[in-house]
């Protein structure tokens, strides 16, 4: 089978799973400095799906694409350690302040620049925004079909991919022509661990900016080993319309951020008989928790 070219969209996010008391600033925004920056968990599930395709179809190339500040290169390195072949960092002041629309636009432009891509994988959503919009919007911008909530790839054959989607009431099997965009659920298999050889090969991988800042003695390495240079793309590197990028390209306006503290309510005891359960069901349907 023909080798594929796969792009995995990955985001560096604050680890909101381990929130401490200083996780929010007084003005209600996320205190990114207090939270460790991690590879968005569902993007790791997406990477695993891409790597499984690579395991099956020799010669397949897995390319990571991330947008963010310079330190987001960490996400690229992490992907390289786990089996990705290369990665691009979209970084520019002009991208800053982007909402999901502007982000998808920038990513779509970058994917066009990578060119000739067969599959685009992304995690279902990022744990900092929880919008689940970027993957689908990238598909729309590129006029590609999209398959969301994917848990498993069952077959790739004759330019088509068959996938299993995890939906609320069951599993749906979908066949889709390629190229297409696939968003992957957290319930899909967890990503494989870092590989020792890949880690030792890529641990010195740096973006040009990082190379300049680096005090390390390995500067000559970057000329000897070109694969250690992580490409940084600015606005000028992707053919794009400045108006659609960053804050200018973002119609989303934050009206208000509220600090919600969950409070434990008094417990209620439901009798464990048919009557008790029926009453509970009625109540839940009435207040629209169910149905």
């Amino acid at each position: 089978m023909k080798a594929l070219k796969i792009v995995v969209l990955a985001k560096q996010v604050p680890d909101t799973r381990n929130v401490g008391k200083d996780a929010m600033k007084a003005d209600g925004t996320v205190n990114r400095a207090a939270l460790p920056a991690i590879f968005n968990p569902e993007d790791l599930n997406a990477l695993e799906q891409a790597l499984r395709v690579k395991d099956q179809i020799p010669g397949t190339k897995v390319i990571l694409l991330t947008m963010g500040p310079g330190r987001a290169a960490e996400v690229i390195r992490e992907g390289l350690y786990r089996g990705a072949d290369e990665g691009y960092l979209l970084t520019d002041r002009a991208f800053a302040g982007a909402d999901t629309l502007a982000t998808s636009y920038a990513l779509a432009c970058a994917i066009r620049k990578i060119n000739d891509v067969d599959l685009i994988f992304a995690g279902r959503q990022a744990i900092d925004g929880d919008t689940a919009q970027v993957g689908p919007q990238v598909a729309e911008k590129m006029h590609l079909p999209q398959v969301t909530y994917v848990e498993e790839i069952t077959e790739i054959k004759k330019g088509k991919i068959t996938l299993k989607r995890r939906l609320e009431r069951g599993v749906e099997s979908v066949e889709c022509p390629m190229p297409c965009v696939v968003t992957v659920n957290g319930s899909a298999p967890t990503c494989r661990p870092r590989n020792a050889k890949a880690l030792m090969k890529y641990k010195h991988a740096r973006t040009v900016t990082e190379q300049q800042d680096s005090s390390e003695d390995y500067i000559t390495l970057y000329t000897e080993r070109p694969y250690l240079a992580i490409p940084e793309w600015s606005v000028n590197d992707i053919e794009s319309d400045l108006q659609q990028l960053g804050l200018t390209g973002s119609p989303t306006k934050v009206k208000k951020i509220e600090n919600i503290v969950f409070q434990a309510k008094e417990a209620r005891k439901i009798e464990s008989n048919d009557e008790g359960i029926e009453d509970l069901m009625k109540e839940l349907i009435e207040n629209h928790t169910l149905g």
């Binding site: 661990p193 870092r194 590989n195 020792a196 050889k197 880690l199 030792m200 641990k203 390495l221």
Partner: protein
């Protein structure tokens, strides 16, 4: 995310021992691989950085996959079926994760797709895996059988088998038979050479074979007709792909349940001779066993680590009489002594690993070029040290891990006796360590030469002459006293010169030497990191008492005692 390497700073401490500079330089032959392999280190710092980052991977997989799987694996165990052996689900998951992470063939050279790591970081990986699941380390850790192929097999065999190990095929060492356990000279499995086919065939039975259904096995077999002792035995490679061996049964064991222990029937199984005929037991198995013994020492330290952590957590959480039980002297004494002995034992383990590293690497360098005189002397020095330290480390750490598992369970009280806490499994898993790869009694037989011929004393004197800070002098004085006491005991045994009398006191003497050595190692650890002072202090107090008891026994003992102890 939990990580069994990062949460255990003792490992990094031992990894950064000053002798590593020499070990890495030797192992990397002055970093010549860097031009041919993209994952080879550029210099010493780069190599050390790689070891740590790779150990982080091991720590991640062990904390998040192997450890959580351990209980299920213990309940499920492997299954004997028509295909041979099927691992428990968790075992297979563990193995897949470690293979995907490229953590097989860790010590093998890069030309065979290995990582070319020294023994020290490999031993650390074994230490970490054992803490997560002591049964699983047997399957993963059998990769060190590849070292025997690397050392003694032909170039053709190395090229054929070693990359397969690096890619994740598992191994086994088929030594034991129903009538040949501790006494391997009695091995009867028959090896016949068919001249027309230029092919060896194996026939017979092997028993108690860990991972006996592995992909590549090293088999000890009798190749010389009419012989009855060790000089008629040779070493063979059996490739599972060539068939001819069936698993007759797997044992039902007390512990390390995830590790399949097989009875194997060889029926005209094709095999390849390793190295020279007749050297199977006297040379190759000795080397194989030394590697395996270091592995068991690492397994023991890993189990001891797990036992200590379980005990500490429980003692801090469990309240009785209105306070956490860790506040009672009877409990905190046990815990602190456990920690001191664990630190002592780990120091002994990595000291041994360093000696083995230097000696083994010189052995390999000697195949590439003639060693300088100075290098030859160094190789001999470290070979001698490795020979006497390996049984010492295996014997002492396996006994310690049993003691630690016992103490940890004791701290758990009745709860520890139930299946509700991991210590119940750890206790069962610990029990085998002082039995397989040579019982403690056999380690003593191997180690006693270091006592009577003065090998340990020579090294003790070297430690004694190391530069240490003034505040550590007091500890040294204690050890100088203990050394005099030990020398008196050794002199007495040597002067009497009765071999049975020596054997009678051998374990006492070896343990005395071990305590002194561990005491010095802890002082040297404290010299590098002040945090070790407490373990040093506690260990020396306990060890001094233990040694005194043994010294007294020997002082008031004479050859006539043998009759009193001997069963009529």
């Amino acid at each position: 995310m939990d990580n069994f390497y990062l949460d255990n700073p003792e490992l990094k401490f031992h990894l950064t021992h000053p002798l590593m500079k020499k070990i890495v330089a030797l192992k990397e032959r002055d970093f010549k691989d860097k031009d041919n392999y993209d994952y080879a280190p550029i210099d010493f710092e780069d190599a050390m950085d790689s070891y740590q980052k790779v150990l982080e991977i091991v720590g991640d997989i062990c904390a998040n996959i192997v450890g959580p799987n351990a209980e299920g694996v213990d309940q499920e165990g492997p299954v004997h079926d028509k295909n041979g052996v099927t691992y428990a689900k968790g075992t297979q998951e563990n193995l897949d994760a470690l293979i995907k992470a490229g953590l097989m063939g860790i010590t093998l050279p890069r030309e065979f797709e290995g990582l070319n790591f020294p023994i020290v970081p490999y031993t650390m990986a074994a230490d970490i895996v054992s803490r997560a699941d002591a049964g699983f380390v047997n399957i993963w850790g059998l990769q060190d059988c590849a070292e025997t192929i690397h050392e003694f097999a032909s170039d053709e065999q190395k090229t054929k088998y070693l990359p397969r190990v690096s890619r994740g095929e598992t191994m086994a060492m088929d030594l034991t038979e129903p009538d040949a356990g501790s006494d391997l000279q009695r091995v009867m499995l028959k090896a016949n050479y068919n001249e027309q086919e230029d092919q060896w065939y194996l026939n017979g039975v092997k028993r108690f074979i860990t991972n006996g259904d592995g992909d590549i096995s090293l088999v000890l077999a009798r190749s010389e007709d009419g012989t009855v002792d060790g000089r008629g035995l040779s070493m063979f490679i059996y490739d599972k792909a060539s068939k001819g061996v069936t698993v007759r049964r797997i044992e039902h064991k007390m512990g390390i349940i995830g590790s399949p222990t097989c009875e194997l029937v060889f029926k005209n199984a094709k095999a390849e001779l390793v190295g020279d005929r007749k050297l199977g037991l006297i040379k190759y198995v000795m080397s194989l066993m030394n590697g395996a013994r270091l592995g068991i020492a690492a397994q023991s330290v890993g189990i001891a680590e797990a036992a200590y952590r379980e005990a500490l957590t429980y003692a801090e959480e469990r309240e009785q009489f209105g306070k956490p039980i860790i506040q009672f002297p009877a409990v905190y004494e046990i815990l602190t002594t456990m920690k001191a002995k664990l630190d002592a034992c780990r120091s002994l383990l990595y000291e041994t690993a360093r000696f083995v590293d230097i000696y083994k690497t010189y052995t390999h360098i000697a195949e590439e070029r003639t060693l300088e005189k100075e290098e030859r002397n160094e190789m001999k020095k470290y070979q001698k040290l490795a020979d006497i330290y390996t049984p010492l480390a295996k014997g002492i750490s396996s006994e310690l891990c049993n003691q630690m598992a016992y103490d940890s369970l004791q701290i758990h009280g009745g709860s520890g006796f139930m299946k509700d806490y991991p210590i119940e499994r750890i206790y069962r898993d610990a029990r085998i360590t002082s039995i397989y790869e040579g019982t403690t009694q056999l380690q003593v037989v191997a180690a006693i030469r270091g006592v009577t011929a003065g090998g340990y004393l020579k090294q003790i004197n070297e430690y004694e002459n190391s530069e240490i800070k003034p505040e550590l002098q007091n500890y040294r004085r204690m050890l100088v006293g203990m050394t005099e006491e030990y020398e008196d005991a050794v002199d007495k045994i040597n002067n009497i010169g009765d071999s049975e009398f020596t054997d009678f006191h051998a374990r006492r003497l070896v343990e005395m030497a071990g305590n002194i050595i561990m005491g010095y190692l802890l002082i040297l650890d404290t010299e590098r990191d002040h945090n070790y002072w407490k373990s040093t202090e506690v260990f020396l107090k306990v060890a001094r008492g233990e040694n005194k008891g043994k010294a007294e026994f020997i002082r008031y003992s004479n050859v006539n005692d043998l009759g009193k102890f001997k069963k009529e």
